[in-house]
Amino acid sequence: MPIITISRGTFSGGQSLAECIAQKLGYRCLGREVLVEAARQYGVSDEKLSDALTKRPGILEYLTRERKHYLACIRAALCKEAKEGNLVYHGHAGHLLLRGVPDVLRVRVVANMEFRIRALTDHHNVTREQAMQYIKKMDEGRVRWTKFLYHADWQDPALYDVVINLDHMSLSGACETVCHIANMEQFKATSKWQKAMDDLALSSHLIAIVANDKNISGNVEIEADGGVVTIRGTVESLFDADKVRMIVRKEPGVKDIDSQMRVRLVGVPADAIPWEG
C-alpha cells in the first residue's frame, strides 16, 4: 500500500488515528516532521512553512507567490518521504499536496465540537470559551486557504475517499476499518503510482529550488513527465530564463527540458509576447 493521508480539524483525533494505523500496518507516520525536513532542505524557517499551511490568506496575498513557494517546499519534502510508500501522513492538506497521485487513500476525520473542545481543554490550560474560539478560528483559516490555493472546499466530503466520524465510531474501530481498506487490492503499489509519485517529487523539488533562488524574478510552473521537464510561466529577462534552465538541468533525474517560458516586458502584458526561450 502506498500512502494514507489523514485530514482533520484541530483536536479531532486525527493524529491518534494516524499513529494507530501506522503501528498496525508497520508504516511510517509523519506529520510536522515533513515541515522540519522541508525547512532544513530548502533553508526556509519552519514557522513560515507552518503559516503557509495554517494561516488564512490576507488580501494582499492574492498578489504574491510566496505561499506557493513554501507549499512547493513542503510538497517536495513530503514526496521525498512518500516515494518509498508505506506512509501515513497526518499533517495538513496531504490529500491536496499529493493531488494527482493515483491510489492514495484519502481519509478525513471529523468529530463534533463537544468532542474537540473536551480534547483541547483536557490537554491544555484553556477555558471552554477559549477552546471553542481557537477551534473555530483554525477551521475558518483552513477553509479559506484551501479555497484560495486549491479552489476547493476543505469540508467537502467529495475530496476524500472516506470520511470517518469519531463522534460515534471508536478510535480502535476507525483504525481497524482504515487498515482494512488500505489492505485492499486497489491500494497496492503499481508502476502507474510509482511514476506519478516520481514526477510529482521531481517537479515540486524543481519548483522549490527555482523559487528559492532570490536572483530569479518571475512566476514559473514546472511539470515533470518521466524525467522530461516542461517549464512554463513568465520571467523578467532572458537571463532569468537561462538561470532557470541551468538550475533545472543539473538536478538528478532531469533527462530533457522543454522550455516554454515567456519574458515579461514592462508595460506589456505577458501573453502579448509569443516568445519561447
Binding site: R108, R118, P157, N165, M169, G173, H180, I181, M184
Partner: protein, 283 residues
Amino acid sequence: MAVLFISRGTVSGVQILIDCLREHTGVKCLSREDLVKEISQYGDWATTVVEQLSKSTSAYDHFSRIRRPYIVLMRQALLEKIREDNTVYYGFSGHLLVPRLKHFVRVRIIAPLGLRVPMTMERLKCDEESAREYIRESDDHQVRWARFMYGRDIRDSALYDMNINLGHLTMKAVCGILEHLLLEDDLHASVELKAQVEQLFLATNVEAALVVDSRTRELEIDANVENGSIHLNGPYLEDANLEVVMGIARSVDGVGKVEYIPGYASQYRLEEHEEKYRSQLPV
C-alpha cells in the same frame, strides 16, 4: 452484527452494492418501499406526506400534522425489521428515524456525476441533459425532504459515521468496506444494545397506537420506557381524554405500568437520545 443505514443520492449505484452485500454476507436488506408497504395498513401516509412536500409552503400547517404520524409509523416499521440486527437499510434518510445507538452505523455513499449520469441515462433511456436535470431535481427533493421531516441537512458529512466516495474507490472495494463494518467487533450489537432497541420499539409501538387512533392522533404524545414502565409525555389533558390515552397505551402488547407526565417534550426525543449518547462517549 451491526445495522447499516445507507444514505445516498438518486442513481448512485447503491443497488449494485446491496446485491454484493447480500451475496457476500447474507444480510437482510430493506428499502424505503418495504417500510411504506408496512405502514400502508394504517392509511396512505407515505403518499400524502410526499404530495404535501411538493406543494407550496401555505400547506405547511397541514404538512406538519401528517409528518408526525408518518415518522412514528415508519420508525415502528423500521425498528421491527432491525430488532434482529444484521440488516442494511438503504432508504434516503432512514438513519434520521432512529436515535444513535452504537451498532447503528450510518453510511453516506457519495457518487460523482460522471458515474451517476451514464447510469441514469441507461435506466431512464434519456439523453445526458435530461439525466443531469433528473439527478439535480431528485437530489434537491431529498434535501428538502430531510429538512422538512427531520430538520437536518443530509449533505452534512457530520450526520454520518462514515462517508464513502465512489469517485475513487471501486464498487468491489466499497462492498468490502461495508462488509467489514457489518462484521466489525466494535459495532457489534451487544445484549445491552438489543435491549435498548426493544425498549425503543415498545415506546414506538405506544406512540404508533396513539397516532393511528383518530381520538389521539393530534395530541403529539411521546413515549419512553423508564425502569420497565412507560412514561408518556404530552400536553395537559382533560380527565376523559387522559383516560382514552392511558387505555390505548395499556392495550399495547408488552406494556405494564403507564405514567402520564404533562408538558411538551423535545422533538420526538431524538435530540434527547443524542445528548444522552454523547455524554457517554469517551474522549
